[in-house]
Amino acid sequence: MVKDELKIGWSKIELASRVAQDLEDGWFVNLGIGIPTLVADVIPEGREIILHSENGLLGLGPKPEPGEEDMDLVNAGKEPITLKPGGSFFSQSDSFAMIRGGHLDAAVLGAFQVSMYGDLASWKLPNKPLGRVGGAMDLTVGAKRVFLCMQHTSKGVPKIVEKCTYPLTAPRCVDRIYTDLAVIDVTDEGLIVQELAPGVTFEYLQEHTAASLKNHTTGLAQGETAQ
């Protein structure tokens, strides 16, 4: 099975690109630590999306060229980044006022588990002594849309579940889940698969998901999208 997973689905950068595709012109978007950070590098040409980083900036740009790194200009993952023209710097309290106040159009975040109701667990693993909450709880309650961007399984164990067993970040907060295998909406009618990654069947996806999925991609060949 591990072998299969290596062969099919989106790579990390393809996954980031798939997320970026859904970010609309003019949106203000926060990118979490991990795969979400990659989204900054793959914003579609001609689309103005203003990226927020919770350590206190709007207008985050791509990674700097080697040798151009500035340790006073980092993202929420503490990696060197650049600032786009039109960007701005502000304090932590201002940054989280922006987040909690509902001013960001979307937050793209990682996850340990997500439930069929959109409950998110992303800050603490049961087998670790310490959690790392950072801004995750603020982002999930504050952003207008919460998009997850993650591997579909962790060491073969499904991350999409009926009920989270890990400590919650926030209940019923996730709107859409992007994984290496599929794009899945969290709705009042349950988890709706909108799109399958190349080489992924609905049956394969369901097999790797610990909650019931509904297929809205029926009639399309594998790898085609429902757009």
């Binding site: 003019g26 203003i50 039109g86 201002d94 006022a97 001013h103």
Partner: protein, 231 residues
Amino acid sequence: MIQKQFKNTAEAIADIHDGATLLVGGFGGSGLPSQLIAALVEQGAKNLTVVSNNIGAVSDGVAALISNNQVKKIICSFPVGPHADDLIARLQNGTIELEISPQGTLAERIRAGGAGVPAFYTPTAAHTELGEGKETRMFNGRLHVLEHAITGDYAFIKGHRADRWGNLVYNKTQRNFNPVMATAAKVTIAEVDEIVEVGDLDPENIATQSVYVHRLVKLQTEPEGRVVVNG
């Protein structure tokens, strides 16, 4: 491409509906978005709830909306001044409601509204007439009152320079309530002296970030221009 600039004040405020809550920046005439107010007088939306610090300090402020019978409720800290007569008359005949909030509490309530904080405790106004009827609680041996956030459907703010993204800088004490109110409305409309290229504003020096400004109007510098814009 992001484009927040409107052709004139009339278009920028055209959709304001009867019964809307409106936050109006400025401290007296300083930083007052008077051309947006003038356009709203023309537009005529009624039964507005208006949140603004000074009522009656200048004739082209919120007083103009009151005199034009567009306001059903005022929330402010300073309802007196040479142009407050129409407010007083309407209070006396019961056609307008007034809520006085201490200036710092008013500012903090609006900030809270923009920051996703629904309520907070403050020592200001405890043991006074303005604290009456409010929940109170002791913290550190001192009485505090619970104050609730204020948000608006629209905010009118005055800025000095803007860029296309909606970033704003202010000129001196023009700043006052403007950056606070900009955060607390569904639709924030800024009248500005100048619109510059994206990247022309110093990223360390942006007082209102692009995320908070939804519509921009460049002020007409000639008085004749103002008439055309609002006419």
